[in-house]
Amino acid sequence: MEIKSAQFKQAASKNLDNPHLLRALTNLRGRMVGGRASSILELDNYEDIREGAKQVRDFALAHLDYLLEEFERNAISRGAQVHWAETAQEVNQLVLDIARRNQVRKIIKSKSMLGEETDLNAFLQAAGIEVRETDLGEYIIQEAGETPSHLIAPAVHRTKEEISELFHITHKLPRKTDIGEMTREARMILRPHFLTADMGISGANFLVAETGTSMIVTNEGNGRMTTTMPRVHVAIAGIEKVLPTLEDVSFILRLLTRSATGQSISNYLSFTTGPKAPNDKDGPEEFHIIIVDAGRTRVLASDLREALRCIRCGACMNHCPVYQNIGGHPYGWVYPGPIGAVLTPAYVGLENALDLPNASTLCNQCGVVCPVKIPLPDLMRKLREKQVERGLRPWYETAGLKAWSWAASRPGVYAFASRWGARLGHLIGGRNGLISRLPGGGWTRGRDMPAPHGSTFRDLYASRASKNKQQ
């Protein structure tokens, strides 16, 4: 996907002025935050399970080499074809080659964020193949010509009214306002595509090494149809998605759906192992799995490695005060919110996403709710350090920080400067004790600055101490 993270500030400011977006995001926050909070109460040892999930993911990441080969062996033994792609371009080319070999004219897709990374739809369409997103949210944004703004709710930035208008225009049918009716309409439009597609593409929530299975977690049933109806199926998955056993998958699922939507379990869990066998009633005739690096081994070898534990639940963004107000698009690439603020610079380069790790209050709400304990604020802080080390911050910021540590490490200088700062600030604050304009304007555009009270603590304490001595 084209990287627009450099325009974060402008895009965020624009979104702050969009009342429809705020309404949509407030809805999401209510549903997802409340849902998660009540559903984790069903687990009487939530924190233990969370620690276990972290360890399962860490084990898998520590043994990727072995597990991926085990996965490949088992998938092949069940009749699947396994491909390895080092780059996004290779993924697209592999998919196109498979499509060409099978004379594919139409593809249906269930959600794949990796497909967004590689811009798969545009690539296939440019090659003359029709591509249909079938997840309702993905379908909406495909119709609207947009990109996802959330990991699991890609069209969350749109209100019901906006979607009603979009359907009315693109479907050329009488306007519906009821969500159920709108969904039925999309379903009616999509149904013929399921029946006529030559190929299905899905992502993978997990790859299971012991069985060679690719599995997806969905709520709408489109994923099941995408993986079973067309004669060719292609699953694309990052190397970090592998887990050793089915037991591990079921363990992690206890946290995934609860953290994501507050569901004890999703409506569908689809496990695909190999193509259709002679006695099977359905399933693809050919089943391909593309295992993708696209920057992941580089992250694995770095100090951002913990980010690869991510199981794509979206809880970090649902709980992020910044995301809750600007939505996902300003982050400018595939993954928004706190996890995006770490993965984006890790995958596309520090210099291409300078704002992302800085645009966080480090409130650690994300770290607290992450089901696999990714220390997101710590990773954002590491990225900030790397920016400073590589000289990527503006000169005035670096100079300001240097000046601060210089002064604060010299108590005499510091006492002098703060004494005069307190006096001057008190004076400017005037009778109501508020400063309404500060240099740079950053603070005071939307806020006053409560003025200092005139004396520093240091001075008050010193005079108190000398008074005590006199007594």
């Binding site: 702050l16 005060p321 800085n358 645009a359 209050t361 709400q365 108590p411 703060s418 603070w443």
Partner: protein
Amino acid sequence: MQVGLFVTCLVDLFRPRIGLAAIKLLEDAGCEVIVPTSQTCCGQPGYNSGDRKGAQLLARKLLREFADCVYVVSPSGSCAGMIKAHYAELLAEFPELKPEVDSLTARTWELTDFLINVLKLKAVPGTFAGTVTYHDSCSGLRELGVKSQPRALLSCVQGLTIKEMATPEQCCGFGGTFSIKYEDISTRIADQKCSDIEQSAADAVVLGDLGCMLNIEGRLRRRGDTRTRVLHVAEVLGGMTEDQA
């Protein structure tokens, strides 16, 4: 019991009576309070802005200044959190300092946490005629588990009633330099905090961190709210909600 007070740079500059209130609370409880006069900043601004070297300089300075204190107490969740939750990582390049860092980490407390869990305080001198709502500052809450301590202490204040806002654990949008780098996002988050505070209809919002205090008070006043007071928990507990003449 000997306690070193880490005042914090923001209290020193903006609202010194918070430091005096902290001393009063600690002395009333029988502590001998020591205030190392060379103290300045814990290094958090640099640490959170990527200036690791500058932060290390200030952390090592603080380490020396409080080396002899039995306890180190600070009227700030984020500064105490900086020491307790981050110094070990920040100073990891200096393995020779590890014993000192571990010792400081174990000795450091946020003020209300210390009053409740070390001093077992059951009574406070402050009185307050009215209702207050408590804002849980992020670092205190999520790094140190400061949640019930300030509420337990506030409930000892004569005349005071606690009225919770809807989402007291939601960030106020301050985030240090974030508040200036992304002022519009920061202001929006602060605005939501202000609405939450106003809906509680409390006479004052009480909190434990100066950063949140400046942010929340600054936004409340700009919104035209001159009624709701913004007070540090130490001021309320110590009965020092006004400057002394």
